[in-house]
Amino acid sequence: MGWLDKLKVKLGVLDAADAAAMEEDDALLAQRSRAGRDRGERPPIDGLEPASQQSLEEVLAAKERGDVVEMRRLLRELDRGKGLRLVLRAAAALEAGDEAELVELLPKVRAEVPAWRLALQLASVLDDAALAETFRVRAEAADAPKWALAWSRALSTDAEVQRRGLAELLVVDAALARTVAARDLKLEGAQSDGDASERYAGFAHGRQCIRRFGATSVAAVVLRAGADA
């Protein structure tokens, strides 16, 4: 992991598992790019398992084309026991009614750190305003940073909550507020601020994956993990 990603992990913008996962995805893309240029293939090294050839993007693509079996196979292969891949694997197990796998994964989902991060990513993409607020309250109880809480409120479907979130985000982190206005809310005339782009990308990556996977299932897993505690 590079120094920048280490810093992001330290600041809570990115969790270690997701940073490693993003790094893996980048490495995989680079490897494929090189492979396209290579002539001929090297034989596998005896006694070594080949490296994972899948990325989270492939998981989501499988999900979107309705290939549940392939999606779950990929998630089992990618799961390192924490981070977004673990949570999506648990959500996939829930959707498939695979209680045995789900029960095995729930304690790890419950132990996810920082606890506020997943809760706020969910709150940012759930259509159900009341459920989103439930996750925001959880995140606040788990000491979520002000910028993250405000950002989450800024994406609320409730106009009043959204207004409050935008005003608070402007106070706490004006560069991020303008970036959120431009990129998430498509506010006319708003522009991304370079000072906030790293912070934005770190949080938005997970949120986007949850949205594509299906926030309702992920929310159900997190609630179930809490209830089973």
Partner: protein, 177 residues
């Protein structure tokens, strides 16, 4: 790129804090009359967008009503007292790069704070402007250290050091208010 002259202001911290709270309240409540009153403008002037906070989420050049500038003006009127104005365009460059100052780590750190726009409230940051805030103890320490170096300082730095020393309390530096 044009350069501006740096001005030091004595900061009334409680007044700035109260203004920040008031701004947050009117934006959260979408209180058009409240914002207009706070900025000393007619209500019609702040009605370009249905959600008031949106005015401040776009760049200042996309703000036909001039609300960004009006808010800075309000902050200046309520909480900032001009206390020293440099007549030299070279002052900022000297502060950032003059070697004897850079060699003093404490002085250099204080200068970097004073010239860091991220240290002032969002509404005091203007595009391409220099701004920053220094707490009273840091300002006093910087003035002391510059006084010790006065034999080596250039005229604009000597003048700045005297200006800084004359300000009791917190200091805001700004070149676009």
């Amino acid at each position: 790129m044009s350069r501006s002259k740096l001005v030091l202001y004595r900061l009334d911290r409680p007044a700035l804090k109260a203004l920040s709270e008031e701004v947050l309240r009117v934006l959260t409540a979408n209180d058009t009359a409240g914002l207009a009153s706070l900025l000393g403008l007619d209500a019609e002037a702040v009605l370009f967008r249905p959600r008031l906070v949106d005015h401040f989420l776009v760049p200042e050049r996309g703000d036909p009503a001039g609300l960004h500038a009006a808010l800075r003006k309000a902050a200046k009127a309520r909480a900032l007292t001009p206390s020293f104005a440099s007549d030299s365009l070279a002052l900022e460059g000297r502060l950032r790069a003059f070697e004897p100052l850079r060699d003093d780590a404490t002085a250099a750190a204080a200068i970097d704070k004073l010239l860091n726009p991220k240290r002032v409230p969002w509404y005091l940051r203007a595009s391409d402007a220099t701004a920053g805030w220094l707490e009273a103890k840091d300002a006093a320490e910087l003035a002391r250290r510059m006084d010790r170096l006065k034999g080596q300082l250039t005229p604009e730095l000597k003048s700045f050091a005297q200006g800084l020393a004359s300000i009791p309390g917190d200091v805001i530096a700004h070149d676009s208010l």
